[in-house]
Symmetry: C2
Subunit: 363 residues, 2 copies
């Protein structure tokens, strides 16, 4: 924000808003021939069924946009329930998984005791925590950048874990998730699975067993729909009810007609979805091998990105050198990870361009 | 919510969420040949430019949906700034004006003293107030259902007024708005102009003069885009900065690629916009005359709905009788207004169907 704001003008702000440090999304520059490997978007287009779904919205009735969408997005909840093999009462949908996560924090975490999350994880968690005035306690990853389930046994009123974790890409197995759930029967445990479809195990399989589990997912990564803004949560119905109460106290219609129709179409094309995820997984393995050959240490990723460092080279300088070659990767100027780069998995051709550029930079 | 939730399960809810009484939107039934005059949607389709804008999104790049939208929606802010003749730094956009209003409450109203609003107004205001834990003081409309500016001089930390008011349809003039602004120089005064384009004066003309004024508008009514979810606020840049801080602490990308493109197209077609608003205004006057001839008392509306009562007839029964004829209007079971019906202005043909049905019911 470049606007200069006087002390007198700040009187109008709510006091708690004056102190906010908002989330900063990865940049979206508009540069020709740019290779954008900084925001974990999918290199492949969404299902072709998506385009048909949009045409159908336009043709269903020339003026359907004049009418409010279904505030409950029932058709989408049904499509998600079918694909995830849960009951429709166990599905919550929102305007991207960021909005879903915000509602999750509001619904379950505004309590007395601290909320636990890893010291290195999705950087929106501390932002939500400040926004909702929560106490928090960050739990350090171990030296291998792994989450240690035993560490999540402190007194708490909630736990949120990204699995696979970001920006490390490392995933916990379901047995480790269960260990955390069992140690915290009185807290809601949120597993944020934005990247789960690229090879990790989903905790949706545990929803029937644990009344304190909320699993969040998104269509932005594995379904190539970042431009659409549709996220969802799966949990037992009593937890979904809390999310609905929060949502309906904030914004009744967060999903527009295109978002609902397109997401329904995406969930209807499971074969394409699985095929594209498999392509990304294979490309990730090739990228990991290529980076390793160049001397990088690459964490074992189950996501559509890799987290890598090159001993003896400043990560910030490497990121800058890549930028000069028209390639953007994500660099975090943050303790413990300021010598790593987070690199989104592109197509094999894009990944090769990255490897060639790195080779030239390191030569 | 039909889910049965046990006391044990309620432990997982944040305590303040257990008490929420969420907003209930007007129903969206799926009945053949239904005449839906209950949610103030526009009877005319949006600009034809809208369909072209959607096609352009699909054709711009087959896979553009895989990429995040512009988190700042700069193109839309620019389009709104041009149409409203303000600087782009004075524009905030969100997922429907409901989300914009939620952020307004969070940004400016979470303080010590009560927030003032009319006792009869948009029923989401008390919901937001409860959601954000605000003190409130409702100010009674006078016996003619008018807002009395002199009544808004109590000690407060914020004021919100719908203008035209809903569900009355009655509008204040700019001189009266200025009276409220001048009496409250240390409070943010929000003018919620969801219906302003149907004949009222917009307070956007006052934004340059008052550093404590926020004006909210929507594309849902006058631009026939309820199905899209785009609202906006106009205020001096220092207030917009607070809204951006809140938005970026909650959800970075509330507007998807279709929403941005379609709304930009709508703001680009000013001629169509003005023509459709004029048609609704003329139909409203005809509808008012027709209802008056049937014996209704109709409040003087500047909105795309009328608020009317028929002395000696129970409004709830009239609403039910209309429903049996396939016509839905909005009935509020609420003190002071439980003998009124809120009727959305349809096309002249639709309004005639309503009048004919009423005539038959009353015969």
């Amino acid at each position: 924000m470049s606007t200069q704001i006087s002390t007198e003008q700040k009187q109008f702000w709510s006091p708690s808003v004056r102190a906010l440090e908002p989330y900063v999304p990865g940049e979206q520059p508009k540069i020709q021939n740019l290779l954008k490997l900084n925001t974990n978007e999918n290199p492949y287009p969404p299902s072709a069924a998506v385009v048909e779904a949009v045409q159908a919205v336009l043709q269903e009735d020339a003026d359907v946009l004049r009418l409010y969408p279904d505030p409950d997005a029932s058709a989408l909840k049904q499509a998600i329930a079918s694909q995830q093999q849960v009951d429709v009462s166990q599905v919550f949908v929102g305007n991207g998984s960021d909005e879903v996560l915000a509602h999750v924090f509001r619904a379950f975490f505004v309590k007395e005791k601290p909320i636990l999350y890893p010291d290195i994880s999705y950087s929106f968690y501390p932002v939500y925590s400040q926004f909702f005035g929560l106490k928090t306690q960050s739990i350090a990853l171990n030296d291998a950048f792994e989450i240690v389930p035993e560490d999540y046994q402190l007194d708490n009123d909630g736990i949120i874990i990204a699995n696979p974790n970001a920006p490390t890409g490392i995933a916990l197995g379901l047995a480790e998730i269960e260990q955390i759930l069992q140690a915290n029967p009185h807290s809601v445990v949120v597993i944020d699975e934005a990247y789960v479809d690229f090879g990790a195990e989903s905790a949706v399989a545990l929803v029937a067993k644990y009344q304190n589990l909320v699993v969040c997912q998104t269509t932005s990564k594995s379904r190539s729909l970042a431009g659409l803004r549709v996220g969802f949560a799966i949990a037992q119905a009593h937890l979904i009810s809390a999310l609905e109460a929060v949502k309906n106290s904030f914004n009744s219609y967060p999903l527009d007609r295109f978002a609902i129709a397109v997401a329904v179409a995406s969930f209807g094309d499971q074969a394409y979805f699985e095929q594209q995820c498999e392509k990304v997984i294979q490309s990730r393995e090739l990228l990991t091998e290529g980076l390793t050959r160049l001397g990088f240490q690459v964490l074992p990723s189950k996501a559509n990105f890799v987290f890598a460092q090159l001993p003896g080279r400043e990560a910030a300088q490497l990121a800058q050198a890549l930028r000069e070659q028209g390639i953007i990767v994500r660099y975090f100027n943050k303790a413990r990870i300021d010598q790593h780069l987070r690199i989104t998995v592109g197509t094999d051709e894009q990944n090769q361009r990255l490897l060639d550029s790195l080779k030239a930079i390191l030569a």
